[in-house]
């Protein structure tokens, strides 16, 4: 009661209660809005600029015969072949290991000590710099076989792909409802039958997108290939000889004075970027949709 009387006499309290926010708080709100949106806009510029510039500079040089010519003849056929071969070697090594480890994490040890150790190691592996993986592959393959080779490059890519595959496999297996596992077990399915016929079969789309994501990442890796697969201007002589790849082509020729070669670099970029963005956009969209469900 007394409060009402006071407020009638105290004009300032009335204005404070009835007016919108004080000026400094309004200014603060608008300033922070401006900063946040400004920074977000700033974050979008590089990506759009990269896409635009690569497209504009690369599209004019794109000719179909480049796909069948080697770098030495101003094509990138041998680099495409090299990238494909090394990604295949990487996939052969990492996909079985990755899927099995993912199954281990999701089906066998959800929360025991070994599983949490494996999960911890996997997340550590994700953070290992790719160039360090290259040093590792150099020690394991190049020093043993005494030569730079596609196999060494493929091995390095396998180590890079492994944690991506493990984590996405685990995620997509976790999405399968437990009731399906119970139903299979109740019908007399063994662990193997339950895991492979029910759980993994249902999760195949998720696992596939994970593998695609890993492949996209591996295809763009340069650092571990510079001193494992090295590079070759001409077609590679075999799995045990130096092999060209698209990213290393860009790195080796980016400041080449020859205008044809610098055009080749931009054209290679548009092919590599197009390939990687297509794969990763599709797989990200699929993963996102599954997660929302």
């Amino acid at each position: 009661m007394s409060g009402y009387i006071q407020s009638e006499t105290d004009e300032s309290l009335v204005t404070e209660l009835c007016s919108p926010l004080p000026t400094e708080r309004v200014i603060f709100t608008y300033a922070m809005n401006a900063i946040a949106f400004g920074f977000t806009g700033l974050a979008l510029i590089p990506l759009l600029s990269i896409l635009w510039e690569i497209f504009i500079r690369g599209i004019s040089g794109l000719k179909s015969e480049m796909f069948v010519k080697a770098v030495i003849d101003n094509g990138f056929g041998n680099a495409i072949l090299g990238t494909i071969i090394m990604v295949i070697i990487g996939s052969i090594l990492s996909i079985p290991t990755g899927i099995m480890t993912g199954i281990f994490l999701a089906e066998f040890g959800q929360s025991n000590t070994i599983a949490s150790l494996v999960r911890f190691i996997t997340s550590i592996l994700t953070g290992v710099p790719s160039i360090v993986v290259g040093v590792f592959a150099y020690g394991v393959i190049v020093l043993v076989t005494k030569g730079f080779s596609a196999i060494a490059g493929g091995f390095a890519l396998a180590v890079i792909m492994l944690p991506v595959i493990i984590l996405t496999t685990e995620e997509s297996l976790k999405l399968i409802p437990t009731s399906q596992r119970l139903a299979s077990a109740a019908l007399g399915g063994t662990r193997f039958q339950t895991t492979f016929r029910i759980v993994v079969t249902t999760a195949i789309p998720g696992i596939t997108t994970g593998i695609l994501l890993a492949v996209a990442r591996a295809a763009g890796e340069t650092a571990p290939l510079i001193f494992t697969a090295l590079f070759s201007l001409d077609w590679s002589e075999g799995l045990l000889s130096p092999t060209a790849s698209l990213p290393v082509l860009i790195f080796n020729l980016y400041n080449d004075p020859d205008p044809e070669k610098s055009q080749l670099v931009w054209t290679t970029s548009i092919v590599l970027l197009g390939l990687i963005l297509c794969v990763s956009i599709i797989s990200r969209l699929v993963i996102r949709q599954r997660r929302i469900k």
């Binding site: 977000t40 600029s49 070994i114 550590i124 592996l125 710099p129 160039i131 340069t222 001193f227 980016y254």
Partner: protein, 325 residues
């Protein structure tokens, strides 16, 4: 009749309810072993990696010991190797990257997690920023050299001319490839990590906290600064640490942009060198022995650095998760 068929069924060896001796049982055991075997392989990869790099570095470790860490000379001809300029370059370029990436990443995380924009637009912005992570490092480097440096160079020249008295910008006529350029590009590259993880952290904060703050009369930004950021603080710190780990190990773009000159200079507009860059530039042509050993030693240092940062981030996330339970 029915009785006899039951009997035959029960007498059948293959009809085994406990399944201890059937083919399926052994198959199942084999499968379990196989799964464990592959999980062990994954663990072994990390330990094998540490061991292999260590043994490659052994000649240099024996020769230089820990003095390698603060040796300043890198002379391939005289077989004298010191890591300090590379460690300095790696740490400083990553620090610049974090300095730029944290505020911008937080802005993106806030814009895409709070209700500033309609949901569809928010998803698109988050998606587009995450897409930067998919672009190969070497293509970002290429773009930076031909597109970004020409834009940045006048600004750097102006900085050098106007603020010469600040040691940070004290360079005569800076060229485009220097520590600052590399740091800014690194910031762009680690932005997706920073933004995506901070976004997840902010989205995980219960809605009640927001509503409570708003109900007490807080504006949106007061809620963000006084409620959301403090309660998500440790998650955001671990996001920054993961981003830092990325920045420390990033190779290609930095190699193309940092100028590759092994010196320790206070000016950010001077060229520098990082551990991944020197590995990328010298490893393929290095002589076996001390040179490879020194490079592997650098690799080991980098490995240790990123391992420490990443383990720290993972442990922080775990610790926060346990606390929230």
């Amino acid at each position: 009749m029915a009785n006899s068929s039951d009997d035959s069924n029960l007498g059948d060896e293959s009809f085994n309810l406990t399944g201890v001796s059937g083919a399926n049982f052994w198959f199942d055991q084999g499968f379990t072993r196989l799964v464990y075997f592959f999980a062990v392989i994954t663990v072994a990869v990390l330990f094998l990696m540490s061991w292999v790099i260590f043994s490659e570095a052994l000649p240099a470790i024996k020769q230089f010991g820990l003095g390698f860490l603060w040796g300043k000379d890198w002379d391939t001809g005289n077989q004298i190797f010191g890591a300090l300029p590379y460690i300095y370059g790696t740490l400083v370029s990553s620090a610049i990257a974090i300095l730029f990436a944290v505020p911008v990443g937080m802005a993106v995380a806030l814009v895409t997690s709070e209700n500033f924009l309609p949901t569809s637009l928010r998803t698109i912005v988050a998606f587009v920023v995450e897409l930067i992570a998919a672009i190969p490092s070497v293509i970002i480097g290429l773009w930076a050299i031909f597109v970004f440096i020409p834009v940045l160079e006048p600004l750097q020249k102006w900085l050098a001319n106007t603020f010469k008295w600040i040691p940070l910008f004290n360079t005569e006529d800076p060229s485009g490839t220097n520590m600052l350029t590399a740091g800014v590009i690194l910031a762009i590259m680690i932005l997706p990590t920073m933004a995506a993880i901070s976004r997840d952290v902010l989205m995980a904060i219960p809605k009640e906290l927001r509503s409570a703050s708003m109900a007490l009369g807080g504006t949106r930004w007061e809620t963000i600064f006084r409620v959301l950021l403090p309660s998500g603080f440790s998650g955001i710190v671990s996001a920054a640490m993961l981003a830092l780990g990325r920045a420390l190990g990033e190779t290609m773009a930095v190699t193309m942009l940092i100028g590759n000159s092994a010196q320790i200079s206070a000016s950010l507009l001077d060229p520098a060198y990082t551990i991944p860059s020197v590995l990328a530039n010298e490893f393929a042509e290095a002589e076996p022995g001390l040179h490879i050993g020194a490079l592997s030693y650098l690799g080991l240092i980098l490995f240790g650095l990123t391992l420490a940062v990443n383990i720290g981030a993972v442990l922080l996330v775990k610790w926060v998760g346990r606390k929230n339970k």
